[in-house]
């Protein structure tokens, strides 16, 4: 995916957030998936369409971390969420 791709939650995705965990059920998958740790923070900042760089910057600011490190952490998670239809790429 290009760096300018912006990600948003698929509106058909069902989810529940709780302290320390988010459980998500994509529209095209059989079973719910659970995000913990930084995955919970990632889900929270996916509240509006953003590219990976913007997401990494927001998360890095929240955790007082390095943007490049955060980006490398969240890229596989975003790819996984996109693969199961939970996230949609918008131009």
């Amino acid at each position: 995916m290009g760096a300018d791709v912006r990600w948003r939650r698929d509106e058909r995705t069902l989810f529940r957030a709780a302290p320390g965990v988010v459980v998500i059920l994509g529209p095209d998958v059989g079973d719910p998936i659970a995000l913990r740790g930084t995955g919970v923070a990632l889900w929270e900042v996916l509240d509006r369409p953003q590219c990976t760089e913007e997401l990494a910057t927001r998360l890095a600011a929240g955790f007082a971390g390095d943007t490049a490190t955060v980006r490398s952490d969240i890229e596989p998670v975003i790819a996984q969420l996109a693969a199961v239809g939970v996230l949609r790429a918008v131009s």
Partner: protein
């Protein structure tokens, strides 16, 4: 370790976040045995959401291992809720295609409209109210899609006219209850269900807008759910009653008028009493004050006994249902359909017509004796 019993802890968890609670959470971490007992109860009572929040807030001390076990339990509850909501969306879509009048009841409706966070309200099935006119169509549609009735209908047309509804087992193993009214028996028959479709509360789910009952309708449904369980109710419906009772938006004047029309004030009285008693609440609202002074009619007291009095049963509720019906035509139709049901129905209930006749006779004698010496209807400590 603490001296507090598991049941006291569960009551405290169920009331977590409500004002003026009396039961206390344990002051220190529980030993393994007590923890296991409490965790099993939390899952059984479907209060993992409140449990997680209490632990997260530091109000319920837990070790790291206990914390992880609580998260796992809540994760399972949330996953089930999402799977059920997918069934709900699919079912609502099918029913919308045939323009059936529907309202989402209980679990998902309450989770998305009465709690600040839907994750606080877990549930184990889907309940839908379907209008009388569309009831047969809705049942046929879902059965055609693989839904299987758990119990046969006594006679054709009984469910649509007099029944509570039907529980359908879906091919996925999940369950959906299609309701015609809130409960079986006299209280369900006394409700004017058509009026429940005159207003609504909308909520968003998976990109769709769904309709739940309005606030007072949801509150009354929660009261029926909490008050009329033959055994002690789960803590989750009691929390629902407390949650809604404490809402400043609950219209007490409208609520009491519905209670008068549907002859169910005693149900609200019992539900609020049980919730305040079990959850150890001290707050007083207009609904609580009204419930304290309410005096149920003879119909209400007798009807309540068929659900929660001595020897409650579906058969007693069915018999008591006669008193809820207005007009001799309805009474005759109701009595006829129940007196001579279809063979499949009898087989699933009593096994044979002879056993059914014997049971009916015993029930008749029991009812006659009870009329001479009525059982106190509350069964629990009165609201005070």
């Amino acid at each position: 370790m603490t001296n507090t019993s598991a049941s006291e802890i569960l009551r405290a968890v169920a009331g977590y976040g409500l004002p003026e609670r009396i039961p206390a959470l344990p002051p220190s971490t529980l030993d393994d045995e007590s923890w296991e007992e409490v965790l099993a109860g939390v899952v059984r009572h479907r209060i993992t959401g409140h449990f997680m929040h209490a632990i997260h807030d530091g109000a319920f001390p837990a070790t790291d291992v206990q914390h992880d076990a609580a998260v796992e339990a809540h994760e399972r509850a949330l996953g089930l809720a999402l799977l059920l909501e997918r069934v709900l969306l699919s079912t609502m879509g099918q029913l919308a295609d045939v323009r059936a009048g529907t309202r989402v009841l209980r679990g998902p409706a309450v989770a998305h409209t009465d709690y600040p966070d839907p994750g606080l309200r877990s549930f184990g099935d889907i309940d839908l109210l379907v209008s009388n006119d569309d009831y047969d169509t809705a049942v046929a549609l879902l059965c055609a899609g693989g839904g299987r009735r758990r119990y046969p209908e006594p006679r054709h047309g009984f469910d649509r006219r007099f029944g509570k509804g039907v529980c359908l087992e879906l091919p996925s193993g999940l369950e959906i209850d299609l309701h015609r009214t809130f409960v079986a028996g006299p209280f369900g028959l006394a409700i004017d269900t058509s009026s429940l479709f005159g207003s609504e509360t909308r909520f968003s789910l998976g990109g769709h807008e769904l309709s739940a009952l309005d606030r007072e309708g949801r509150f009354l449904d929660a009261c029926f759910h909490a008050a009329l369980a033959a055994n002690r109710p789960r803590l989750v419906p009691l929390r629902d009653v407390a949650q809604m009772t404490l809402s400043p938006e609950l219209d007490v004047a409208r609520l009491t008028e519905l209670c008068r029309q549907w002859r169910c004030g005693i149900v609200v009285q019992r539900a609020v009493g049980l919730a305040w008693d079990e959850l150890g609440l001290g707050a007083t609202t207009d609904v609580v004050r009204w419930a304290r002074q309410y005096e149920g009619s003879t119909f209400e007291r007798r009807a309540l006994c068929s659900y929660v009095g001595d020897n409650p049963s579906y058969a007693r509720q069915a018999l008591a249902g006669m008193h809820a019906l207005r007009g001799w035509r309805d009474k005759v139709a109701y009595a006829t359909k129940l007196a001579v049901p279809r063979r499949a129905y009898v087989r699933s209930r009593e096994g044979s017509y002879l056993r059914r006749a014997r049971r009916a006779f015993r029930l008749f004698l029991h009812e006659r004796a009870e009329r001479r010496d009525p059982v106190a209807p509350m069964g629990d400590r009165a609201l005070s």
